[in-house]
Structure formats: C-alpha cells, structure tokens
C-alpha cells in the first residue's frame, strides 16, 4: 500500500466566514416572532432570537458577548451544531422563503471572540476529578472552577478536545476553532493529566476516597462491532479511521473503501475516505429514508460516495478476504469487495471501567454505587450531539454543589 502526504491534514483548509454585511442581511430577515421557536428548540438555550435582535439593533459587541454568555463553546457549535434539527428546524421564516441561517450568525458572532469578564468565587478546598478531557469535561471543570472548586482532568489521549479533535474531520472543525473555545476555559484551578487511561493507569480504588466528587464525561467510547470482524486486517473502526485521517501526516491510500453505517460519523468517513481512495462505497443496513445523519452530513457523504448500497448487513468474510453482506429483508447474499472496510455502526457506554461506579443495564446507567460519583454529556443525553451533551453540564454542576453542600 502506497503512503502519501495526507490531504486531510488541516493546514489544507481555509475557513470561509460570511462577512458582517452578509450576516446583518441574514439577521434582518428575522420575523421577530412571539415565543420564538429558534430559542424554544435549542437544547443549550442559546436564545438565538436575542442575539439576532441585538445584532439588528446594531449592538454587535453585546451580541458577540451574549453568545458566549449562553454557550462557552459557541464557535465550535457555530461550526458543527446540527442546527437544522434545533434552532433552524421550525424557523417561521422558512414558511415564506427559507429559514434564517442561525448557525452562520452564531458562528460569526463567536468569531469576534468577545467574552464578559468572569467572576470566580473564592476557593473552597473541594477538589473534583473529571474523567474525560473532551468538551463536556472542560466546560464542567470551568464551571466548577468559577464556583470555587479545583479539578483534575484525566484524559487518555495526548491532547484535549475528545471527539472534537478525533472524530470530526478537520475540514469541518479545524483545530484553531477548537482552541478558540477550549483554551479560555483553562485556568490555574484546573489540572490536566494527559495519557491517563482510566481502568488502566488509574483505577476506582485510587480515586474514590481521594476526591470530593468524581465526574465521568467520557461519552460513548466503545464502538459497536461484529464479532467476525475483530482484528481483521481489512477492518478499521470509524473512530480510528477518522483519528488517522485527522492526525497522520502521511497516510495510506486505498483502491476502494467501503464505509458501513448511516450516522454522521459514517458520512464523515465517506467524505474523508474519498480523499485517500479511488473508489468509495457506502453501505447501510436499512432503507435510505432511515439514515440517521443530519442533512448537511448526508449531502457531503452522498457527494463523496461513488455508490450507496442500502438494505445490506455484513455477515462474514469470504476466502478471498472480501466482506459478504446479506439483504436485511431477505436471505440473498452479496460480496462487496474492498481494500478497507470502515465500521461506523455506533458507539456505546464502555462499562469495563464504569461498572465499579455504576449499575449499568443494557448500556444505560441506572444507579450509582458510590455517592460522590456523577456523569454528564453523551452518557446521559438523549440526543447524541454536542449541544445536547453540553446541556447536561449545568444540572450536574448543581448536583455536585448540592452534594458538597456548596450552594
């Protein structure tokens, strides 16, 4: 297999932002609704109708501060939030012509990088352990710091940002954008420990009495897979594939890549795969209508895929090392040859290290085994999106403070 310079490495992307004139023109399309649906639909309560109104009144500075007051990861959300299912879903302007590009406006305001001076309460001698250095862990640590707590963050990789920096292609979310929002969260009350894998480098016994609160923000980090695929040289997990695409300076090129799955992640895999393979095929086990990815991802994925095959579920490898699929609704089999199979069929809670802390049933956390343990983010949110994960933080902060009698 040939290696070449990775075309997916992020210095190949230049971000395209609308300018102020375009943003203002867009904002001025707002109907100024009563009980605005954009704001009702946002899991983070970003209140788009307010920042649009501020922008329309010419108060750009205040509008820019407002987005960060509501959402500490505004610039990131301005890039990757599936706004079509939230603020832009029921925008009434869409009934006249097209919905307001709320996310573009949000992104622009966040790009101005205005934040109000933050108030930090005096230290209170409490120390939290946060497992997971992703967006939820960092926002959690920041919010706790403001309330007077110190935190230690354990992160298993060598950088902060979690899924943002591993599973989202650089062309959708450049590192500069991630840094723009994550760096300001850090301060002297937050200690970062990188390359620490919980369950291996650190165990339950090491920490359960050492910290006042233990908060898991590890998300869903166990990829689903099929037993017959385990350790097969032609199979790679979507998470590993995307990490490789984002970070390796030199990358192997392939003749043909098959991506199995129908999620946003699968679509990102397709888009990335097209840059390093001659031919790219998407395979989904059900009908096209059941695809779970959001519209924007689907458009990119379909554009990248040379073909998309539906109603096919993988069952085994044949002698030649090609994967055999079965019709989801029937018995006929079909071999879809490829040089690499990317598996993107979902992620689960990793109960291997969580089971010491929680009772878990069918991948869902039911009860705590230790009183000072908490969890936030994708582990508890119903909608596996960044805003949805972030929307769980405030509630957990309250629970922690309440538990520590600090409110």
């Amino acid at each position: 297999m040939a290696k070449k310079n990775n075309p997916l490495i992020e210095d190949n992307y230049q971000e395209e932002l609308l300018d102020l004139t375009q943003i203002q023109a867009e904002a001025k399309r707002c109907l100024n609704c009563k009980a605005p649906r954009c704001s009702l639909m946002c899991p983070m309560q970003c209140e788009p109708h307010r920042f649009i109104a501020l922008l329309n009144s010419g108060n750009i500075e205040e509008a820019a501060k407002f987005v960060y007051e509501k959402n500490l990861l505004s610039y990131i959300c301005g890039h990757i939030c599936p706004s079509e299912k939230y603020c832009e879903k029921n925008c009434l302007r869409g009934r006249i012509d097209r919905v307001i590009k709320v996310r573009e406006i949000h992104r622009y305001l966040a790009s101005l990088n205005r934040r109000d001076e933050e108030e930090f309460q005096p230290l209170n001698n409490k120390h939290a352990l946060i497992i997971g250095g992703g967006p939820v862990g960092l926002v959690m640590a920041h919010k706790l710091a403001k309330r007077g707590l110190k935190s230690t963050i354990l992160e298993k990789s060598s950088y902060l940002g979690g899924a943002l920096r591993q599973q989202i292609p650089a062309f959708r979310l450049p590192s500069s954008v991630i840094d723009h929002d994550l760096n300001p969260l850090l301060n002297e009350r937050i200690e970062i420990k990188l390359k620490m894998t919980f369950g291996k480098d650190v165990t339950c016994d090491d920490v359960k009495d050492k910290y006042d609160a233990i908060i898991f923000t590890t998300g869903l980090d166990k990829p689903r897979t099929y037993d017959f695929m385990l350790d097969h040289p032609k199979v790679i997990l979507a998470q590993d594939f995307l990490k490789m695409c984002r970070h390796e300076r030199e990358i192997t090129t392939y003749d043909k890549i098959v991506v199995i799955g129908g999620s946003d992640t699968a679509m990102d895999c397709l888009t990335s795969a097209k840059k390093i393979a001659r031919e790219v095929i998407g395979v989904y086990r059900r009908e096209k209508e059941r695809l779970r990815a959001n519209k924007e991802s689907l458009e990119m994925g379909f554009k990248a895929a040379d073909d998309f095959i539906f109603n096919r579920t993988p069952i085994r490898f044949d002698e030649a090392g090609n994967m055999v699929f079965k019709n989801y609704y029937g018995e006929e089999e079909e071999t879809i040859p490829a040089s690499l199979y990317v598996l993107a069929i979902g992620v689960l809670i990793d109960d291997s290290y969580l089971k010491d802390f929680f009772e878990i049933e069918d991948g869902v956390i039911k009860n705590k085994k230790i009183s000072n343990v908490f969890y936030a983010g994708d582990m508890s949110s119903s909608d596996k999106t960044l805003v949805s994960a972030l929307s769980t933080v405030e509630d957990v902060v309250d629970k922690v403070l309440n538990y520590l009698n600090l409110d």
């Binding site: 109907l31 100024n32 609704c33 009563k34 009980a35 329309n56 009434l92």
Partner: protein, 415 residues
Amino acid sequence: MIKKDLSIEFLGVKFKNPFMLSSSPVGNCYDMCAKAFRSGWGGIVYKTLIKDPCDECSPRYDMLTKEATPFVGFKNMEQLTEHPLEDDLRDITRLKKEFPDCVLVASIMAGSDEDWKILAKQVEDAGADMIELNFSCPQMTDTHLGSAIGQNPDLCRQYCKAVKSATKLPVIAKMTPNITDMCEVALASMEGGADAISAINTIKSILNVDLDKEVGLPIVNGKSSISGYSGKAVKPVALRFIQQLRDNPKTRNIPISGIGGIETWRDAAEFILLGASTLQVTTAIMQYGYRIIDDLCNGLMHYMEEKGVDHLSDLVGRANKNVIPAEELDRDFKIYPKIDDDKCVGCGRCYISCYDGSHQAMEWDKKTRRPTCNTDKCVGCLLCSLVCPVGAISKGEVVFKPGRGKGRKTKDVII
C-alpha cells in the same frame, strides 16, 4: 410588450412621456442629459444655472435606512451648477439640437430682478423649451437665495414678474416644502406670472448623527449642515402639498409638475391621480440610474390599460375629490380583520402589535400559534394587517357602531 401613448401636454409643450429628471445632480452636463434622453426620459430640468458656479463640499450625501432597506430617505448638500455659465448654455444648445423631440427645461436662480432677467434671456436664446425658477434649494451658502425666496410670497411674485418680462417661454415656479402653507407662495408666483408650479423641492433635514464624533452626517471636516431630504420617505409630504394646491380654489387649475420620492410607476400614478401632469425624479436615479425609465413607462402603460384610458391626461387629478376634511369622514362603522389561517405562519407579530399598540383584541393560541380577533375589543384599526409579514390579514366583516348606520347596509360601505 404593452404599447400605450404616454404623451401629455404641459404648458403647451408636448412630452412623449411625463417623466423628467429634476433639476439636480442627475442632470448636470451634456453627457448625462444625452444619456437620459437616449434612455427614454421625456424631459429634463437641467441643473440650476446661476451667475457664479457653486463651491461644493465633500462628502455631500447621506441616507436613511430601515431594517434591510437602504435609501429610505436621502440627504444631499449639493447646490447648483458647478460649471461656468457659458458651458451650461452651450450644453443646453447642443442637447436641444441633438434631441429636438425631448423637452429641455432650464432651471435658473438669481438674487436680483436684473440677474433673473439676464439668465431667463440667456436660456431662452440657448434653446430651452421652458424655464423653472428655483425658489427652493434649502442648502444655499447665500442665505438670501433658494428656499429663502420660496418662503417669501413677495419675492416669489417679484421674481416671477421679472422673468416673465424678459422671456416668452413658459415659466414654472419650484416650491419649497419648508413652509406651512404652499398655496400662499404658489398664488403669489401665479400673480407674478408663473404658468405652473413644481413641488416639492427637498425638506430641510438632519438625517443621522455620528455617535462617536457627535456630529451630523455627512461629516465635512468634523461639521455638518442642515440640508435637503428626498427619496421615498418624502413622498407623503409631497402628495399632501399637491393635494392642498388642488383643493384651494385659487390654485386649483394651475398645472403641476410633481416631485418627491417617485421611484416606481405606482408612485408616479399617485402623483398623477392627485393632479400632477408631469413628474420629476432624482433620488431613484441616483440609486438605480436612468434605466428605471423603462419600468416607469411600462408600469404606467399597464395602469392606463387597467383603467381603460387612452390619454394620460384623463387620469390627472382623479383622486383629488376623494380627499376630504377629517370631520367629513364616515365614522359610523368599523372593519374587523379577516385572518387567513393557511397563509398565517404563526409569528405572532399581530398579537404583539395589537396588544402593545392598539386595543388588546388579538388573542393568541399558544399551541397552534394562531391569532383570533376578539371583536368585543377590536376597534377595526387594522394595524394587525399592516404588521403581518405574509399578508394573511385582510379587511373582513364591516359592522356599524352601536346606534349608528340606521337604514344603511354594510355592503354599501366602500372598503
């Protein structure tokens, strides 16, 4: 493409269509006027001639905006011609020679009988078809000129007389709106011999104030001046003055050239219905160019077709009789709004405006996001229909107020 005869006679001169450039930056030299004529404009009022060319400032314009709309109103600080008199006279001669079928009006301004007479004679000799007397520029550096004349009936009368004594050409007196009663100065001008009135010139204004520098816009080396306001926003003021000229028995029959915020054929038709027989345009040209003439003509032709008239003059003044004093309006009834639920997008703007700006008559269903009108509270102001962004609210049921409209039928009420 529709073809209708848009020609109209004004002061014995035939215009192929009623649209003219007003005396302003848009008709400043031969090249501009030639292009305007070639584009199809019926006439031009050449930028005002004066003995000594004017000294202009920079910048000299500003605009009023609302939401996403630029040029709601426009402010300009330019005065009169910037050329030596002989250059302008030469251009007028050349234009008239090359475009004999187009009407060229020379606008002039002076500060003494003698100067008015000399200019009038000069433009007549140059070949102008008629003369417009600029009694109305509101931003002259010489405070005895421009709108200072137009605010003084005696000066208007005197200067008209002087001009008429020096020329055989028809004379139009251009009025300033910076006055309470235009009839008085118009009448004085008529007494002096003016054959027609053009109205309105621009309104004295301060459009915007720069909040950093604490000075009005446009900023000329840190300062600004009061100057003329024009564009769409002034149309209502212009229409009102024209109606009042038409209402006054003494000025009722004077020919009027309408000016003030004409952008589209609809604006033009409104001026015509209220009594203007030619129309002058500047601000819309400054924003969009001479090319708007095609749409102005085409739209007006369609309107004539719709109205079943073959001569534009048949439309002039048709709306005047329908403007009556407030005390004579029929106040016996009210009209409830009719809400089209299919068109409604559920934004709730009608609810907010009715509550905060009228009589709390609109009710709002949180679940369905649909408004309904509580007729017990509704006064029939129809503010709701104006704020609706999708035109889902129209005039609905007509009802007589309690104890009123005896013996009348609601269907006879014209809505």
